[in-house]
């Protein structure tokens, strides 16, 4: 597997597409520890980064990997780590620090079953882990959720861009299904502008004041001011970066809300519903933070029922309910872990809900 810019589609696993895109996005440093179902990312990076004279460290733990990434990012280079579920748990401390340090860390989180060791089947059980965070304090991670292998590549580019643009840790939230499945994918050159970081990066205090990157504001008042500033940034991100896909919502009575690999089957289910004469549409959040709250609120003026379809015990459904705010019923179709429910199964459950 070699990293290339392609003018035609190549067949590739999601994990390789993510790794290839990261290299093309200009990622200079990769730090990681193996875990199924994302190990191909580290395997690809180990060879490619050495070949290109960039940095690769086989970290002793995910705790070390996220902190190595923080260290590299503090110098202004693009750096990333990747992991999965129970091991992303080990990174929560680092993610909390990175938001407070305002460092552009990129984390690829390829979800598997949980809690605990869980299993290596696909899952969306880390929606809360990514959007709420397991680290301490008030903070937000930017979270991007691909649904196809092509999006695995495109949103990896975007993750590096948004992380740099907002100086905020950004998560590409994929799952075992996307990581392991093969699909045709095309790699265009990195499409985003490079962000100037000369005003904050650590490079040695030559000809300027020394810089300290820290998350520590010893006085309560300082910390209040700092948090207000941080949340102004999050508000800006919500206004400018919320991204979603919508099909068949114009006249829909029922809107299915689904993200990631599950949304693939939900799309097919929507088509079957339409063939049956049911007015069903889909809204697929592409950014999980920022969540398309505003759009769901608009749709709630006319839609009779929302249904969140997820592979977990019901996590995103809470954000849908917050957005709809009692204007319409919000139901849940889900399974705990594994491949998403088949389109026919989803249709059957929708008919039961009607």
């Amino acid at each position: 597997m070699t990293a290339t810019i392609t003018d035609k589609k190549v067949l590739m696993k999601g994990n390789y597409a993510i790794a290839n895109a990261a290299v093309l996005a200009g990622c200079q440093c990769y730090f990681g520890y193996p875990i199924t179902p994302q190990s191909e990312i580290g395997e690809f990076m180990s060879g490619k980064m050495q070949e290109l004279g960039r940095a690769y460290v086989s970290a002793e733990s995910e705790l070390a990997a996220i902190n190595m990434t923080i260290g590299a990012c503090s110098t202004g280079v693009k750096a990333m780590t990747s992991s999965s579920s129970c091991a992303v748990s080990l990174m929560q401390e680092g993610l909390s620090y990175a938001t407070s340090d305002q460092l552009p860390v990129v984390l690829v989180s390829v979800m598997r079953g949980g809690p605990g060791l869980g299993n290596i089947y696909p899952s969306q059980g880390d929606y809360f882990q990514a959007t709420r965070g397991g680290g301490n304090g008030d903070y937000k991670l930017i979270v991007l959720a691909p649904s196809t292998v092509q999006e695995c590549a495109d949103l990896t580019y975007k993750a590096f861009y948004l992380a740099q643009k907002y100086r905020n840790p950004t998560v590409l939230l994929a799952d075992g299904l996307l990581g392991q499945m093969m699909e045709p994918v095309e790699f265009k050159p990195y499409p985003y502008p490079e962000i100037d970081n000369s005003q904050w990066k650590l490079s040695g205090a030559k000809g300027r004041e020394a810089r300290i990157i820290r998350s520590y504001a010893p006085l309560a008042d300082n910390q209040c001011v700092y948090l207000e500033k941080l949340f102004e940034k999050y508000k800006l991100i919500e206004e400018q970066e919320t991204q979603w896909e919508e099909i068949g919502t114009e006249d829909a009575d029922i809107v299915l809300v689904s993200f990631g690999s599950t949304a693939r089957n939900v799309k097919t289910a929507t088509k079957i519903c339409r063939q049956k004469g049911l007015k069903v549409g889909i809204l697929r959040p592409i950014t999980l933070f920022p969540f398309p709250t505003k759009r769901l609120k608009e749709l709630a003026q006319s839609v009779k029922m929302f249904v969140s379809v997820e592979v977990n015990m019901g996590q995103m459904v809470q954000d849908v309910r917050l957005a709809v705010n009692g204007k319409a019923p919000v139901e849940l179709i889900h399974k705990g872990v594994g491949v998403p429910p088949a389109p026919e199964e989803i249709v059957k459950q929708i008919e039961e809900l009607m």
């Binding site: 200079q28 440093c29 730090f31 940095a55 460290v57 970290a59 002793e60 733990s61 705790l63 070390a64 990997a65 902190n67 190595m68 990434t69 923080i70 260290g71 590299a72 990012c73 503090s74 110098t75 280079v77 750096a79 401390e93 680092g94 620090y97 340090d101 650590l202 490079s203 040695g204 205090a205 030559k206 000809g207 020394a210 810089r211 300290i212 990157i213 820290r214 998350s215 520590y216």
Partner: protein, 250 residues
């Protein structure tokens, strides 16, 4: 004719206020680090990974770029900095709890990988900033707030000998333990810090110095008594010396 006998090193912040407790050896250690940075011409090319605890305040005294790492993670963050910028001088300044307890995995693996960084570890046999609890280096018999009848082996196990462990790692180029209890030993300490910096500059591997230090406040001793404790108790268990120096062995 006037002769200049003292010059403030360029690595020192001119407006820094002294914040360590009276008699604490952190002040001397930070000063030695600053002098070595200046004398080796590293000040403007340095990025430090700072720790949690009293040691973090080093960035208030030195005029260098610094990243404040979470507790125990300085060696991982220093690794990230150095791998991203191999031409920068990178060092950590940590306490023994940070380096050898919560961060032991990060410290050992940075040494095993032979990261081309330098690490300074202050060993004062207690957690200072949190008020004097038992740490990885607390001596057998030592009373702390979490070993009220003294460190006994059945409850707490043995204190760790950091410099010896780091010396065992193949990626370590230099490992030494020094003390700051006499003028002669302060001079030796400075030579050791300089050596730990030089092995990084030469690209030989990890340079490490463990500095035996006082914590008069938590030991509940006068500065003088605290230094006597270093001489009479600590040095007997934590023997000063150079445990590895590949520039000599080669």
């Amino acid at each position: 004719m006037a002769t200049q006998v003292f010059k403030i090193p360029d690595s020192f912040k001119k407006d820094a206020k002294y914040t360590f407790c009276p008699g604490c050896d952190h002040g001397v250690a930070v000063r030695l680090v600053g002098e070595c940075l200046s004398e080796l011409g590293l000040t403007e090319n340095t990025i430090a990974a700072c720790a949690i605890g009293c040691s973090v305040t080093i960035y208030d005294f030195l005029n260098i770029d610094a990243l404040e790492a979470p507790h125990g993670r300085a060696m991982a963050e220093a690794t990230g900095i150095k791998r991203a910028c191999p031409d920068k001088f990178v060092f950590t300044y940590q306490g023994d709890g940070d380096f050898a307890s919560i961060g032991w995995a990060e410290s050992m693996h940075a040494a095993l990988r032979g990261e081309k960084i330098s690490a300074i570890c202050i060993n004062n046999t207690t957690y200072g900033m949190t008020g004097g609890q038992l740490g990885p280096t607390t001596l057998v018999g030592q009373v702390t707030t979490t070993s009220p009848t003294g460190r006994n082996l059945e409850y707490y196990g043995y204190p760790i000998k950091i410099a010896e462990h780091i010396a065992m790692c193949d990626g370590t180029a230099y490992s030494a333990r020094v003390s700051l209890d006499t003028v002669a030993n302060i001079k030796k300490a400075k030579q050791a810090i300089k050596k730990a910096f030089e092995v990084q500059i030469k690209g030989l591997g990890l340079g490490f110095v463990e500095i035996l230090s006082t914590c008069p406040t938590n030991w509940k001793m006068t500065p003088q008594k605290a230094h006597e404790r270093v001489q009479n108790e600590m040095i007997k268990v934590f023997k000063p010396g150079v445990y590895k120096d590949i520039t000599v062995e080669n």
